[in-house]
Symmetry: C2
Subunit: 458 residues, 2 copies
């Protein structure tokens, strides 16, 4: 078989860094979401870009699928090997290549995690802001166009990747972008690879934009009587142009889950979690203005945290919320939703979603990055209960329909993988075929993460 | 001939809105730069997206080039018909389709100019910040990935286009993006069309991100003894994270030109022009900090303008600087350069450029958006003097080589067209071929603005 021939060649190339043990294959076949196990045929652990190029050349020669792997924390099955093939695990390519403090940028290998990067940056006065819940790899974050709690201020991976080194489907090594802050030189290939989920090539190096650690930070939690009040406060805040660094919503069920998981004692009400970055006076000014807005919408129990340890506890709690919600129902798996709508439609989208879930008996705590109009309902299911799975999937589909009808998108930050493939036609129409045409042009053999994102090849 | 058949069909479709008069053809064959006249075979004036689709269908049927036209102010020959064909002039598609104040976005037709949009927005408290020197059309600005004086704060067209309606090379109408603030749904087609210079399709509608008119604005001019001091002040300011809205450099020759053209009386020294946007206290704080930085680098003659009319005079002068420099040598044409480098290399790039021009006797005032690391030398030539033309082109090539060696780009904001085509291999290597593969996939007949941006088709 072609795949066995490819693996033999990979073993010659990589020795013990080409692995076929069942435990390793299973580890690289799972996801944190509800998709079934889909192990690859082998896992390759390259240490250099040159090795990645050789791996892809071997797979291209034998027409074997190539799937990139960072930390395995994507939520739509992006890193699972549904068609078998070779998983390229970037954990040994996790170096900081160069920190350019004067230019506020950094070159990194794709296996480096966002937390490891920020640890490296600590002494420089700079930081990398994009923060999905998981401590994901930066290559994976670029590939899914990830964001997190700070996108409202610092943007998503789209805005923070300046350039890439990529191994293409025929095993060539290309570079996109430059270290200049802007360019009008040709098609935006950097932007094309960011969010392409490894379907056009494997990212082997990234140049990332950094930001100055703010002089002052203040964080806050604020309880509201209902989700509508909280969301209205968000809308007013955005529309006033108040420069927030973070503004997060948790509904009552989410609050209960994080209280239990992270030993917090938040009142059992919907909450907003906020953070302001700036000068001492700027932060104080913003906090005051937000306090007035919140009060106007029934906000109460304001609690400002200016001490770093209190803020860290707050955001660690928030970043663990997904795991907290999963733990709230032992043994449950999650159908994760991720819609994003224009800010003016946010209250409507959240309220209709909550009503829909209640009416259909689906357990689904709601939380999200409401400053972007993006929120998640984490639909908890017993994966062996077909009725529950079906109800959750139907509720998820209705959320997407609602988002599209309101001018939004099926996914604000998790991507397509296989989980959102069914919504692509509804969201993009003919433009989805254009994505397919690009894929066919750049990966004619369809070996780069096949079966994900683009229309199925006939 | 195919082109005559196409024009006959266009005349049937558009009646008097398909024009072949010599004056109209010549008007659409010129540019503001040094390229020779290259008129199209006909100019079409569509009024609807449907008509644009029909025009492209007719041209596709007869394999006739289609070139988009906004205001004709691009600087690298992007809108000229070097291979003939049909020029699609969007001046009749210049409506504001919808202003969504709550969501801070706007839908516009491509022929609308940036100034006309801001006039429409005046009462909303919102504005569109991207401001190339010319009063360009928004479709053209998107197509060249334009920026201007405010990119340092608000980003370029890449950052401010949320979605597009596009007519593809086979005359289909597609939509990219949504009105949500972010999305991870598939390839970033919006980003692919922005900067594609009409080589992949014609933009027929844009959804643009708006920004709140700042509560307070203060602008300033500051003279320096030498360009090095001015650039060092810029570098310090950026690295301190001071939130500037604009920071522009003009060298002595540029200052002389604007003094004469705009009746200003700036001292004949290099200048920085700045603007801060924010709250009253925030703007005051920034101004003070910048004043200290500037003083440390020999800055003098600080002049703060908080009155709107003074600021308008200042920025009108800056926006007219290109025309002022052209007027400084009557009858001259310009070879416009546009390099952009990492901030840490800015002083070196500017100084080496100035020395090079002086050493080679090329007249080239330097000015630019130094907060992004982007600057222009406007090389003035007598287009009939071959020696001068050659000297200017050689100096331009050396600027690009210098920029690439410093980790930068051949063009920060003007784009490729035909003027920068010769530098694509040096900047992009194999990635340029990838651009060609995308072009071939999306425009297999090579009718969309052929001869620009991508590698020549064999």
């Amino acid at each position: 078989m072609a795949v066995n021939e490819a693996i033999t060649a990979l073993e010659t190339l990589l020795g013990e860094r080409c692995v076929r043990s069942k435990s390793d294959l299973d580890l690289h076949g799972r996801s944190e979401s509800h998709f079934p196990l889909a192990p690859p045929d082998a896992v390759a652990y390259p240490e250099t870009t040159q090795e990645v190029a050789q791996i892809v050349q071997i797979c291209a020669q034998h027409r074997v699928p190539v799937i990139g792997w960072g930390t395995g924390t994507s939520l739509e099955g992006q890193a699972q090997a549904f068609l078998g093939g070779v998983c390229v695990d970037f954990s040994r390519m996790n170096a900081v290549v160069a920190i350019n403090t004067e230019d506020m940028d950094v070159q990194v290998q794709p296996g480096l995690t966002r937390e490891a990067l920020n640890n490296e940056l600590r002494a420089t006065g700079l930081f990398f802001p994009v923060d999905p819940g998981a401590n994901a790899s930066l290559g994976g974050m670029a590939s899914t166009r990830a964001s997190g709690t700070t996108a409202v201020r610092y943007g998503t991976m789209r805005d923070n990747v300046m350039g890439l080194e990529v191994v293409t489907s025929d095993g060539r090594i290309i570079r996109t972008g430059t270290r200049a802050r802007k360019s009008s030189s040709g098609y935006d290939l950097t932007g094309l690879f960011v969010g392409a989920e490894g379907t056009l090539g494997l990212i082997t190096e990234l140049t990332l934009r950094l930001h100055g650690q703010p002089e002052a930070i203040s964080a806050a939690v604020c309880a509201f009587d209902d989700v509508g009040g909280a969301v209205s406060a968000v809308m007013d805040t955005i529309q006033m142009g108040l420069p927030m660094a973070r503004i997060e919503l948790m509904d009552v069920a989410s609050v209960r889950a994080v209280n239990s998981y992270s030993n917090m004692a938040l009142p059992e009400k919907p909450h907003l979690l906020l953070e302001f970055h700036g000068s001492d006076s700027g932060v104080a000014e913003c906090s005051e203005v937000f306090g007035e807005i919140a009060q106007g919408h029934g906000g109460s129990g304001f609690d400002w945290a200016t001490r770093a340890e209190d803020r860290n506890a707050l955001w660690t709690m928030r970043h663990n919320a997904y795991y907290a919600i999963l733990a709230a129902r032992p043994g449950a798996r999650a159908v994760v939703t991720d819609i994003c709508v224009p800010i003016s439609k946010l209250a409507q989208a959240v309220e209709e979603t909550a009503d829909d879930l209640a009416a259909n008996g689906v357990q689904g705590p709601i939380l999200g990055h409401v400053g972007d109009g993006n929120f998640h309902a984490i639909l908890l299911i017993d994966a062996d209960n077909a009725t529950e799975v079906k109800a959750a999937e139907a509720a998820s589909a209705r959320m997407v329909e609602r988002a599209l009808a309101l001018g939004g998108t099926a996914t604000g930050e998790h991507g397509i993988g296989i989980g959102k493939l069914g919504y692509m036609i509804a969201e993009h129409g003919q433009a989805w075929n254009m994505m397919g045409a690009i894929k066919s042009a750049l990966d004619p053999q369809n070996i780069m993460n096949p079966g994900k994102l683009v229309p199925p090849r006939n």
